[in-house]
Symmetry: C2
Subunit: 407 residues, 2 copies
């Protein structure tokens, strides 16, 4: 344990932990589902509600620069994902942004009809494609194939390939540049879902010659429950047409013109009035992570993940956990997944020991590794508590057996 | 003035004013653009951020019942608009909900192709239709006709008619039951935009045999800047298919299934993860307005509007304001509009005298009348200050001439 304590002592990111509301004793391994609360966000929200809304009222749209929030926060997120200012906008939910990105991509490939993804991708990605495909006389087709057959499926019909960069279950990470190149060679565009990447692994969208991307604000960006998501469109695609043409995507939203004229640039990917309370919390989270060196974040993530996998090895042998994540760091995001026949009950029993991980149906235990507020000693302690859960068969208790909805 | 003070003293809603953050001297006539901040909302947000997010973390999705928020708040809003529990859901922006309602209506009228609205409707309503119409080989057509030609335009091609119940500029109010009946007679469905109605005028969706409706959370519901909007679908249309098929609209969101199966009931109109901070503020605003008798709200609204119109009459004659709103209360919502060649500068000069109204291009001054926090004496005082602005030609100052974006 001394060696592990030394790793914490040498951690260049260790001071970030104190910036979060996290009670003593809790080991929170679910920051990839909902990031923890930065203390600064409390103050920021108070300011937004009491000063900006309460005192400034309608004038805050200009005087507190609410109107700029989607672009301003977008420009900040751009720095985390290898995009330029003016290529990212913070708005709507990830699902809605997937729809916009897909429809924009389809508008650029009007001679092609297939939307492709990999089987087992995060459900909402596929669902949004299925909704699009059903609409308007089924002009488009939805197709999901296993990961190892993706390249074979890139034929002349494929308009757009939608992939999650880091898989929500296994954390397996696609080679963004390589996949994008293969898709482009086949004449298709790619939409990257960065929900499990942004703020956790290094992403270089423009370096990969990416087309579109979306991502989530409430995981590693610590933007709060249901935080606004974001959308990236490469500058060369800023003439594309998302179907969702609301007034905030208009060239002159306050011209109140009858005919829709899409704004130049990334603004056309906005739609309705921006959710300002959510935006304020998201910006606070993004401001915080921008103070962390991305290389240090990635290095610590790998270190934490490797340590957890090492600590879990004996438990795998003794208690039947089975690692579902890749072990090569270049192919791994920032969480670790195990399968276990009693996964759901195990997660519940661990929670009673103040270790929060999450369960993904049917048999996955997922440990989210957030470098800003987790310590190397937490990895050892989490494995120690799981050992107690197993040795004392705590997971067998009746109250841990009933499946409940947890996001 | 004494008679007017007596009206305030007799106002059964007068105690609500103290429940809002509103500084002395300010006359806020823009609550139909952004409602004022209820004091209770501050505490509610603090609770949501610090306790539920900060302490509860991921467990708050179930333990603080975040997961139920869209339905729970929807059921509350239902009480304000003549809908039943299970017919309304709070989610997304008004624009996105318009898109869902339109696409659901189109899915029910697959033999028809026209989406109809009135010319001069709030732009985002038309824009969303135009986006839909452009998509997928232009299977659908967008048509806008003047209000007095709407019934003539209801031919066999019209799948759906989208109207704003209370017009955003003039406050002219449609007869919901009559319009709905005429549309149904012509075989079309109706989507009602209740943005300027909900919480201000009595709405009876089921009484009018309505099909779909959407509305805004940040006006008379005082839900905060960019609050989540809502969507109503009559029970008989719960098999309709909105295109936006995200995971929160799935029958089993946490089943993580590959194929989309729409939830039974109103839940299928959800899409992505609900924005919890905005939901908390919205719920606080809705809880407040539910404590007010809707008949008293409407009666006070009419009283305030009539008083303002009366006080404005001499100014119309002397300074060239021209009333654009109907004067018959049964045809009027809860704001009053005037046209004036110097409308923009007038609004700015009034603001310097602590009266906040708003400007709508090209020449409209709009005074929002919110019965929960406005007083009868405010109507007299607002007209008095506008008289000073006119008599002293304050609106001629150079700094009031430059048009800036204000929502």
């Amino acid at each position: 344990m001394e060696a592990v304590e030394a790793m914490d002592a040498a951690d260049p990111l260790q001071h970030f932990r104190d910036e979060f509301v996290l009670r003593d004793g809790l080991i929170y391994l679910d920051g990839n589902s909902l990031g923890a609360l930065p203390k600064a966000t409390l103050e920021r929200i108070q300011q937004t509600v009491l000063q900006e809304w309460g005192q400034g009222l309608i004038t805050s749209w200009t005087e507190a620069e609410w109107i700029e929030a989607p672009r301003r926060i977008g420009d900040k997120i751009a720095q985390l994902i290898g995009a330029e200012a003016g290529e990212v906008v913070a708005c709507d939910s990830t699902s809605v942004n997937i729809f916009k990105a897909l429809s924009a991509a389809l508008s650029l490939k009007s001679d092609r009809t297939v939307m492709l993804t990999e089987a087992g991708n995060f459900p909402t990605d596929g669902y949004m494609m299925q909704g699009l495909a059903k609409f308007g006389g089924a002009a488009y087709e939805f197709k999901a194939v296993p990961r190892d057959r993706l390249f074979d499926a890139l034929n002349d019909d494929v308009a757009v390939l939608l992939l999650t960069h880091v898989h929500y279950k296994t954390a397996a990470m696609h080679d963004m540049a390589e996949v994008t190149r293969r898709a482009h060679d086949a004449g298709a565009l790619v939409v990257w879902d960065l929900s499990h990447s942004t703020g956790a692994v290094e992403v270089d969208l423009n370096g990969a010659n990416a087309d579109f991307a979306v991502g989530c604000g409430y995981k590693y960006l610590n933007g709060g429950p249901g935080a606004p998501a974001f959308l990236y469109a490469a500058k060369r695609h800023h003439h594309a047409q998302p179907i969702l043409s609301g007034w905030f995507g208009h060239a002159r939203p306050f011209g109140f013109e009858e005919d829709y004229e899409a704004a130049a640039g990334i603004d056309r990917f906005q739609c309705g009035t921006p959710p300002i309370l959510g935006m304020a919390a998201l910006e606070s989270g993004v401001d915080q992570i921008l103070r962390a060196d991305p290389a240090a974040v990635r290095q610590k993530s790998i270190g934490l993940v490797e340590l957890l996998i090492k600590e879990m090895e004996p438990l795998c042998k003794e208690f039947g956990f089975d690692l579902s994540s890749p072990t090569n760091p270049t192919q791994l995001g920032s969480h670790v997944a195990y399968s276990h026949p009693n996964a759901y009950a195990m997660v519940q029993a661990l929670k009673a020991r103040d270790v929060i991980g999450d369960f993904r149906t049917p048999d996955t235990i997922r440990f989210g590794i957030t470098p800003l507020y987790l310590r190397f000693t937490d990895m050892v302690e989490a494995a120690r508590r799981l050992r107690l859960v197993c040795e004392q068969r705590e997971w067998e208790r009746a109250e841990y057996q009933t499946l409940a909805a947890v996001t």
